[in-house]
Amino acid sequence: MSEPSDRRRNIRIQVPVLARVEGEGALEIHARDGHIQHLCLRIFEPPRYFEKFLEGRGWEEIPDIVARICGICPVAYQMSAVQAVEQAFAVQPSRWVRDGRRLLYCGEWLQSHALHIHLLALPDFLGFDNAIAMAAEHPDTVRRGLGLQQLGNDLIRMFGGRSVHPVGVRVGGFHRAPAQADIQALRSRIQAALKDAEDLVTFTAALPLPADEQTFVSVSLRHEEEYPMNGGRIVSDRGLDISPEDYEAHFEEYHQPHSTALYSRLHGQPYLVGPLARLNLNHDRLSPRSREALSATGLTLPSRNMFHSLIARAVELLEALVEADRLLADHAPPDSPWSEVTPRESEGIGCTEAPRGLLWHRYRLDAAGRVISARIVPPTAQNQGRMEADLRHSLEHFGLDQNDESLKLRGEMVIRNYDPCISCATHFLKVRVTRA
């Protein structure tokens, strides 16, 4: 499709609601006289219903129910949930459980980031319509991605019993401990993959990523010692430094008429969660090996270019492997894979770093441990306002005189930078353009 390059033309892009196993998305853009007059990104969030599904259910059921919220990041939902319930019941998981959960999370970051980079994002930057077409020209690149993803799935399976909607997690720990022989076998594979992950960091940094500097607020967890996954305080690059218990005093969810998903704002402003925000705020917490790989790219942090999210994911993928190797090296079979749990009437907060960013849970439980109320704030919803601001800026910066296909592709690329669940469909923008 080609249109005359007329930056003053009226542009009307409407994207119908599209199927989303992990969410539904739509995009509307109206532009006139070279400026975007109207832009809204719609996300319809099925996870909202889970808060109601949980009411009345017992505390033992929570990890398995919340795992069904997302097919890609079920571990994240389980981790925030068990953390919240354990806080409510004053349960202190053992060191072994803590390490096991970090390993499980490493697996999820690994599989999610590997899949996003290689199969969803790379075709944009290598000039292909999709990963299958790209694989014909870059088979080794795709094989690397599939191998890393498989490794992540196997790590999840080792602790979670299965890689999709794992069932191994329980409040207080895990239902069972992995066999030591499986630990050693997987550790060998992880060590063998470290070079691939380092190469991936170099590879992503060498891609022709667009230059698109923007102003935005980065938000993530920050831990005293480690790159944040399962714990820490919530911080921003504007001085926020709060306990997850104080989340609701600073962050606000609100409705927009065009979307059933809740938007989030921090002190009235949209903000970014996810890999680039985490890296901006925590690059000093990376392992020496990841820090060295990052340093070799020449990337200056904090970055204000959302296209650097691809590099951030590659760095985090490497970090997940390095961490998994370290934790598996120290692994020893536990006396018990879980701590005893005694329910009580209480409330608990859980906050962890899903692959796509901050995931905050709160549960009120009765004396028997049944859920009275639940609140779940997923990362994609938190990024919704930021994505709209980004689209508005990026498309105007890109140039509204570009033809519709170019605008559509750039819009998709901008959205994919966030790896939202709606990017389940890499070509989800069905564009209809009408002109006045």
Binding site: E22, L146, Q149
Partner: protein, 159 residues
């Protein structure tokens, strides 16, 4: 030859697994085939079939057919229209297409789909008939026979 049942524990999505387990109980077949089940393998299917020369994939399907209908498909038929990797969770068709591009698609890929019930799970009797039909198709593909002569079903329900 490897036989892989694909699915999940949920409802009729387990039909591929049930078919694999049914085959595994048939001595004349099970002794000559490697039969596994995979839980929503996504791209893991590529690894599972790499290095194989012939595979049979068993999976529940939604094809707008009467529930319990069994269809035999070729990889080409399944991959028809697959252009983009359109999901985080890659399906069987996309994974086979990717496997072909990567040069690891087995020479022979047979897909046996079982139409899942939509309004309600497939009942016991049609379920049994569907599994028997799957075993008959597997015999046709492999040339294997039960120790006892198998009842010869008609063509009803077989695509």
């Amino acid at each position: 030859m490897r036989v892989i049942g694909i699915g999940s524990p949920h409802g009729d999505d387990a039909l591929g697994w049930e078919a694999a387990r049914y085959l595994a109980r048939l001595p004349g077949i099970a002794d000559h085939l490697r039969i596994d089940c995979l839980d929503r393998p996504g791209t893991g299917l590529i690894q599972a079939i790499s290095g194989e020369t012939a595979v049979i994939l068993l999976d529940a399907m939604e094809a707008g057919l009467p529930a319990g209908t069994v269809r035999r498909l070729s990889a080409d038929e399944l991959m028809a229209g697959v252009g983009a990797v359109s999901s985080h969770a890659l399906g069987v068709a996309e994974s086979l297409a990717l496997a072909r591009v990567l040069g690891v698609l087995p020479n022979a890929v047979h897909i046996i789909g079982i139409q899942a019930g939509l309004a309600a799970p497939l009942g016991k009797a049609p379920r049994g008939r569907a599994l028997a039909t799957v075993s008959m198709i597997v015999r046709e593909i492999t040339g294997l026979q039960d120790p006892l002569p198998a009842a010869r079903p008609g063509n009803g329900g077989i695509g």
